[in-house]
């Protein structure tokens, strides 16, 4: 493998993105919703209705769960429930880089084909693995940057709008694990899936539709947290991250075998 060739194509991918800011829109929208929802539920609605979260019988479980964590005992009941809600919605924030990665990756191979720039690219000594690696990284790095930016905004919003100390709930090992282990791995899964699919179809939307499958388990995780009090602990995060890492390794191998230069050059019109 040639690092120079991977870096060359990666550089091109990043330069190309600068001219397509619209492609970040799905990721930005998902991020904005993920940031806004806990603020709406934990801060705005109680302020508008005048009802305290800690008075709600529905949220007592959350309060109890949170009080089991030593540092959270310092928080008053209202702040503890706000912390719970901000943490629960972090899983939703994971969807932001996933959505961004899907948009970026779906265009990766198909975009080259549509611009008719794939054939000159394939005429260089670049190998299929190098090409796919550069494509995956070209989508992954911006998605990761978006994830970091959204997380920074989320922490800032919690610090400014929620009760004192609530933002610390976003800086626990569990939160960091969700955002920086599970999130990137889920993004990687979405985008390797999208790259694999985009090697075989002619339409970016087809690639996006198939890659959206990654969103389903994440959404299920969020629903389970909110409805049945399922807690995503650090071991669970590590387990999910490990499983996704294995899946990603398999998907990259699959992508290399699916990327048939001949079919792409001769059958795509």
């Amino acid at each position: 493998m040639s690092g120079t060739r991977v870096l060359a194509l990666l550089g091109k991918e990043l330069l190309d993105l600068r001219g397509r800011p619209g492609i970040f829109l799905p990721g930005l929208l998902t991020g904005a919703i993920a940031i806004f929802l806990p603020i709406l539920v934990a801060v705005i609605i109680p302020a508008v209705t005048g009802e305290r979260l800690s008075d709600s019988a529905d949220l007592q479980i959350a309060l109890q769960l949170y009080r089991d964590q030593p540092w959270a005992r310092l928080l008053d009941p209202e702040a503890a429930i706000q912390s719970t809600l901000f943490q629960q919605f972090l899983v939703l924030l994971v969807l932001s880089p996933v959505a961004a990665a899907m948009s970026l990756a779906a265009y990766s191979v198909i975009g080259e084909k549509q611009a008719r720039s794939l054939e000159p690219l394939l005429a260089t000594p670049i190998t299929t693995f190098e090409l796919l690696l550069a494509k995956v990284l070209g989508a992954f790095l911006p998605a990761l940057a978006l994830s970091l930016a959204c997380f920074a905004v989320d922490v800032a919003a919690a610090a400014l709008l929620a009760r004192p100390g609530v933002f610390l709930a976003l800086l626990t090992p569990r939160s960091i694990g969700v955002l920086f282990l599970m999130g990137p791995m889920a993004s990687l899964t979405a985008l390797t899936l999208a790259v694999c699919v985009s090697s075989r179809v002619n339409d970016p939307r087809s690639a996006q539709q198939l890659a959206v499958l990654v969103v389903l388990p994440l959404t299920a995780l969020l629903v389970a947290q909110i409805t049945v009090g399922f807690v995503v602990t650090v071991p669970i995060i590590l387990l999910i991250t490990g499983v996704l890492a294995v899946v990603n390794a398999g998907l990259i191998r699959l992508g290399v075998s699916l990327f048939d230069r001949e079919t792409i050059l001769t059958r795509w019109k």
């Binding site: 120079t4 060739r5 060359a8 550089g11 008719r116 054939e119 260089t124 000594p125």
Partner: protein, 304 residues
């Protein structure tokens, strides 16, 4: 330099190229001509190591290239039918990415040299999307030659270009020959082939004919001489027949006379016979069929 040995390519049941054999020598311009769907681009792609032949092989400097397609691609500059530039990137960025993909030790130096050679230095910072078709083609050519390849494959290099840009491309192709590179051009422009090519391959899934343009002419139409007279030619037909001409056509004030092989010696005798018969001879010239006529004839006859 580069050889195709019985190259065959099938896509499912369809045969795109069958048993094509030829060699491309250093310092040669070789033209591949044929109708749409004749297998020209497929042949180029096999030669460039982009797709594998179903049977047959490609040899580079005598060595079979099976399994070494990446090495073959490094030795070849392939201008694809469409320029295939990254539209949002500038001219310089496009070239620099390709210079690095080719593993050049001093990519910026190579890019600067290529931009100077193709006269696009003043547009270096502009996105290629805003360039005219001619300029885009120049950038694509610069990209093709960036790594100084000994073999250059050009697929429709002047297609859709204005006359001035097309002339620039033809001059470049001649320069490549002068630099002892092996150049293969696939084109529909027969006038261009006539001006540039040392050898022409007519392809219609299989090789229909392969030779120099002059040899193909002789093969299709034989050799003819045209004699222009000051008056109607009808009354001089008998005179030239008596002098040995067998295939004589009257064309107003002109006589078109077919010559047998080695028949050039007959021309002075024909002129003498005409003068003795009272004709005023204004011009004697070799009659050349256009390559288009040759192409149509050979394609129709299937090369026989």
């Amino acid at each position: 330099m580069l050889a195709a040995d019985a190259l065959t390519k099938t896509f499912d049941a369809r045969v795109a190229v069958e048993g094509v054999t030829f060699e491309l020598a250093a310092g040669e311009i070789f033209a591949l001509v044929g109708p749409n769907g004749a297998g020209k681009t497929t042949t180029l792609r096999m030669l460039a190591g982009l797709i594998a032949p179903s049977s047959g092989s490609v040899r580079f400097r005598g060595e079979p290239m099976a399994g070494a397609a990446a090495a073959l691609r490094a030795a070849i500059g392939f201008l694809t039918e469409a320029p295939g530039l990254w539209d949002r990137l500038t001219v310089q960025q496009n070239l620099r990415v390709h210079a690095r993909l080719q593993g050049l030790p001093k990519p910026q130096q190579a890019v600067d040299a290529a931009m100077d050679l193709f006269g696009v230095r003043d547009r270096a910072g502009e996105p290629t999307a805003v360039l005219s078709k001619g300029l885009r083609q120049r950038v694509a050519l610069a990209r093709t030659l960036l790594h100084d390849p000994p073999i250059v494959l050009l697929d429709e290099p002047t297609s859709g270009l204005d006359p001035e840009s097309a002339r620039d491309v033809r001059e470049l192709v001649l320069r490549l020959r002068h630099e002892r590179r092996a150049v293969l051009i696939s084109t529909h422009n027969l006038d261009e082939v006539d001006r540039l090519a040392d050898r022409v391959a007519l392809l219609n899934t299989r090789l229909v004919a392969l030779d120099s343009p002059d040899s193909l002419r002789a093969r299709a139409f034989g050799s003819r001489v045209r004699i222009t007279l000051s008056s109607a030619s009808t009354r001089y037909v008998d005179a030239v027949r008596q002098a040995g001409a067998r295939d004589v056509r009257e064309e107003g004030h002109r006589l078109s006379i077919g010559l047998e092989p080695e028949g050039a010696q007959l021309v002075p005798a024909l002129v003498r016979a005409l003068v003795q018969a009272g004709a005023d001879v204004e011009a004697v010239e070799r009659e050349e069929a256009s390559l288009e006529q040759v192409y149509l004839r050979l394609m129709k006859d299937g090369g026989s």
